[in-house]
């Protein structure tokens, strides 16, 4: 309607209508204006967000997609890949990136770009987001003028952000288990990490390490770096402990550093530092010395420690086998504070577990492994070459002494139990060793023995050697003597020597000595004495002793049987030569048990012995006739001899002679008269009782006991009751004694008198 009417309005009304139309139109047309504004704003903001477009050249670009892959800086999406293409020569990938406006500053000449790829190792997982989001391009802001062409890095740079930090390079022979991200620890705190590793031309490994700026002061030029194993097991006498340095290092281990000496200056950036395989090696930064061993058993490069006073002071760096000298040369590096241990004269001994009869040593090395013990010289010039020892000092000294010692040969009819290494004693000291057991030229078992240099004076030409049995038991009345010749001797025995008598001239090298079975034999050095016995019962060659006043003075060397009698060859010890004088008496003493008493009881245990009574002859004799006696006391007694005769009697030698029921003598012999008419009893009256024997003394047989019971008289023979020998009694007539009897007087055995 309005439209219609407006068409018909007069021209004067025209302006108002137009005005009204215009107002209405502008209201409706607000929609397209708004739409255009919104669109325009959108495009304008989009254009405003666009930064410069850059091109980055990568050696390869895995996972980079145009339109999708983003460029991140500090984790912020800062641009988008718009194009991925290869250069005309197909040598590189050129990635075009549309930076966002706020990241325009990234387009600086020295900005680094790299492709962030997921890296999953046992050590760590990086770029996890890349697994989900795909690879991305990372940037690190650089300096310089704006640029559009960049060369991308092949891998992540050492420092992903431009934080200040200390970067230096470690050099090691090998670097197993070290990867990018391996922690660098100082006193257990991670202060940095390994960022890169590679090989040098000489095959060594370099590791680029970045230490946080806040910890950079901990790295000094005195710092020593070493590998920390992922886990280490310590075994010691105190038990076992497992050392896990850190959870991060659990899988890969890490690198630790510390300064072992005070002081030090901060290291400059990009310093080149050594990396030791372990802490001990890191500590060992002192002078290197060479120690030569005759065996390298147990010496391990990088593991074997040098210990001084039981504490580690160095480490074996390398072990070099020298075929020319058949020796092992260990290059040892001492800890710098202990450099002074390497002096001329210092002794280095390889300590290994040793279990022998002499003792147990180095037992701890079963667990800890062998080490080299250092015994430093007190003074002396610094030295670098040493001859190491592989035996204990004691053995070393022994071997040195034996090298310079006196070698002799011992021969014996037989050589049981003594083996190589058996000790040689001199007055209780071990002065030498049995070197060898062999059969001599004449078929005699022989021992080659060395007497150490310092004891060679003890060995004389007249020294006597004897075997020390492993164990000896000597028993006598009231004495039981068990001798065990040391632990070593217990098992194999040994050899002893000594000089009996005057020292002779020093023994000569390679001299031959006889080896006696026992000390007794060896010590009996006199001219042999031959003693004939009717009965050799119990005599043992080499065992039966000669005794004088109960003291052993010699030994039976041999027992021979000849002409129905036994001849004993005996030797006397030094100082008892007087027993060889003519007139000496030798009596075989055996145990006797009778009702009168027990005699020679000690011989039950010790065996028979030969009792000696020195003679008074002017010269020495060689042959003697021995006596067999049941009672040595009888032989020794000085008595007053008389004889008693009778037709027959049960009294035998050994019977007691009593006077008023008191023993005053003994029957020592019983012989038949030459014509067989009667029996003669030899009676020995004690010297002090001789006055009792008068010419009219009456002797009777007291073997029987007479008694009366009322009017019945009886007589009991008592041999079985009292003494097998019987008993001889005498008395003097009550009235008036006659003159004392003469020596050797003869009496008639009479009937017992009645009192």
């Amino acid at each position: 309607m309005t439209e219609n009417s407006s068409a018909q309005v007069p021209p004067s009304d025209h302006g108002r209508v137009v005005k009204a139309r215009r107002f209405r139109v502008s209201l409706a047309w607000l929609f397209p204006v708004l739409a255009a504004a919104a669109t325009g704003w959108l495009f304008w903001t989009h254009w405003k967000e666009r930064g410069p477009e850059i091109e980055i050249e990568f050696p390869d670009a895995p996972g980079i997609q145009a339109g999708k892959t983003a460029l991140f800086y500090r984790g912020v999406d800062s641009g988008k890949v718009t194009e991925v293409k290869l250069d005309p020569k197909l040598g590189h990938v050129i990635v075009s990136v549309q930076l966002k406006a706020f990241a325009a500053e990234l387009a600086r000449e020295h900005t680094d770009f790299w492709i962030d790829q997921p890296e999953i190792s046992l050590q760590q997982m990086t770029g996890l987001d890349a697994i989900i989001q795909g690879n991305s391009i990372q940037a690190r802001l650089g300096h310089g003028p704006f640029a559009t062409q960049f060369k991308g890095l092949a891998g992540p740079p050492l420092l992903e952000l431009d934080k200040p930090a200390l970067v230096f390079t470690l050099h090691a022979d090998k670097a197993p288990f070290v990867a990018r991200g391996t922690p660098v620890l100082h006193h257990g705190v991670q202060v940095g990490s390994v960022r890169d590793k590679g090989l040098e031309k000489d095959g060594r490994v370099w590791l680029r390490v970045v230490v946080d700026a806040e910890h950079a002061h901990a790295v000094l030029d005195t710092s020593r770096f070493w590998f920390v194993p992922a886990a280490s097991l310590h075994l010691s006498g105190r038990g076992a402990s497992i050392d896990l340095p850190s959870l991060a290092a659990l899988v890969d281990g890490g690198i630790a550093f510390d300064s072992f000496v005070p002081g030090g200056n901060p290291v400059p950036d990009h310093a080149e530092l050594p990396l030791a395989p372990n802490e001990a090696a890191a500590r060992a930064d002192g002078p290197e010395i060479q120690i030569t061993f005759d065996t390298g058993e147990g010496v391990t490069a990088g593991e074997t420690r040098i210990c001084w006073l039981g504490q580690p002071v160095g480490l074996v760096k390398t072990v070099h086998l020298d075929p020319a000298t058949a020796s092992v040369e260990a290059t040892v590096q001492l800890d710098s504070p202990f450099a002074s241990l390497a002096r001329a004269g210092s002794i280095f001994t390889l300590v290994r577990p040793s279990i022998s009869l002499q003792g147990v040593s180095g037992l701890e090395t079963i667990v800890t492994g062998p080490y080299i013990a250092c015994k430093p010289a007190l003074d002396g010039a610094a030295a670098t070459q040493f001859a190491g020892r592989t035996v204990t000092d004691e053995e070393w000294n022994k071997s040195i002494a034996e090298r310079d010692g006196l070698r002799i040969v011992l021969t014996a009819p037989e050589l049981p139990t003594i083996e190589r290494g058996a000790p040689v004693y001199h007055r209780g000291l071990v002065v030498g060793t049995v070197l060898e057991k062999f059969l001599g030229a004449n078929g005699q078992p022989s021992l080659r023995v060395v007497v150490r240099a310092e004891y060679r004076d003890a060995l004389r030409a007249n020294s006597r050697f004897w075997r020390v049995p492993a164990t000896s038991v000597a028993a006598g009345p009231g004495v039981l003597d068990v001798r065990v010749s040391g632990l070593l001797g217990l098992l194999q025995g040994g050899i002893a020597f000594d000089v009996f008598g005057e020292n002779g001239s020093p023994a000569q090298e390679a001299a031959t000595f006889p080896l006696f079975d026992s000390e007794t034999l060896a010590s009996a050095v006199s001219v042999p004495v031959r003693i004939a016995f009717a009965d050799g019962h119990g005599l043992l060659a080499g065992r039966t002793q000669l005794r004088y006043l109960g003291v052993p003075v010699g030994v039976v060397e041999d027992v021979q049987t000849k002409d129905s009698q036994v001849t004993v060859v005996a030797r006397l010890q030094t100082g008892f030569e007087f027993l060889r004088r003519a007139g000496s008496a030798f009596t075989l003493v055996k145990p006797e048990v009778s009702l009168q008493g027990v005699s020679g009881l000690e011989t039950l245990v010790s065996g028979v012995y030969i009792d000696c009574q020195p003679g008074t002859g002017p010269s020495f004799a060689e042959n003697f006739t021995g006596r067999a006696s049941t009672d040595t006391a009888l032989l020794e007694r000085k008595g007053f001899p008389i004889h008693v005769t009778t037709a027959q009697t049960a009294i035998r030698p050994g019977a007691l002679v009593t006077y008023r029921e008191t023993r005053v003598g003994e029957v020592v012999g019983k012989t038949l008269a030459p014509d067989g008419s009667h029996v003669i009893l030899d009676v020995l009256i004690d010297e002090e009782q001789r006055g009792l024997v008068r010419q009219n003394s009456v002797f009777w047989d007291a073997s029987a006991i007479d008694g009366s019971l009322g009017f019945i008289k009886f007589r009991i023979h008592t041999p079985l009751l009292i003494a097998a020998e019987g008993r001889l009694a005498f008395s003097n007539p009550p009235r008036g004694s006659a003159a004392p009897a003469e020596r050797g007087a003869t009496f008639e055995l009479q009937r017992p008198p009645r009192f």
Binding site: M1, T2, E3, N4, R24, V25, A28, W29, L30, F31, P32, L34, A35, A36, A38, T39, L42, F43, K68, A70, D129, I131, I132, Q133, G134
Partner: protein
């Protein structure tokens, strides 16, 4: 509401629709992130994606519904509005208008689908659907055509000056 107002509103909305049609097709409608793979999709890109995936019937449907139909709606509306007031082709215009009206019922299905996707497709880090400004523009285009068609009554084709509701 007079016929002139309706005509003006319809014309303005069609022009606005044409203006908005450009960013609606250039800007991504949504960003689909599947296992980290960020994929900003425009409407045409979506069709392309579907076609590349071998789902060409679906691609065809989407192409028709999201690109051809809005374009045709705008074109048809422009044609009807341009011929407004002239006696030419009135039955054809009416027929086209009726089709437009019928199709218009379904025209927001894309936007509806996008809204559903954005709401449902939130599977955290694995997958997510993020509506983008393009969707807004797309919805705006559709709204413009809808309202334009609604303001312009088919009676106006036959009676350019009349207001059928006020007339009766």
């Amino acid at each position: 509401m007079t016929a002139a107002v309706r005509l003006d509103l319809a014309r303005a909305l069609v022009v606005a629709g044409i203006v908005l049609y450009v960013p609606a097709n250039i800007l991504p409608v949504m960003t689909i992130t599947v296992t980290g793979d960020v994929e900003p999709l425009t409407v045409l890109g979506g069709v392309q994606e579907l076609y590349d995936s071998g789902l060409w019937p679906v691609a065809g449907v989407v192409f028709l519904a999201s690109i051809v139909v809005p374009f045709l709606k705008l074109a048809c509306l422009s044609w009807i509005l341009l011929l407004h007031g002239t006696p030419h082709l009135r039955p054809q215009r009416t027929a086209v208008y009726r089709i437009l009206h019928q199709v218009g019922t379904w025209s927001m299905i894309d936007v509806f689908l996008l809204a559903i996707l954005a709401a449902v497709g939130q599977l955290g880090i694995l997958a997510s659907v993020q509506p983008e400004p393009g969707g807004l523009f797309f919805a705006a285009v559709l709204l413009c055509t809808l309202f334009a068609a609604e303001f312009y009554k088919p009676t106006l084709i036959w009676n350019p000056d009349g207001d059928p509701q006020t007339a009766q």
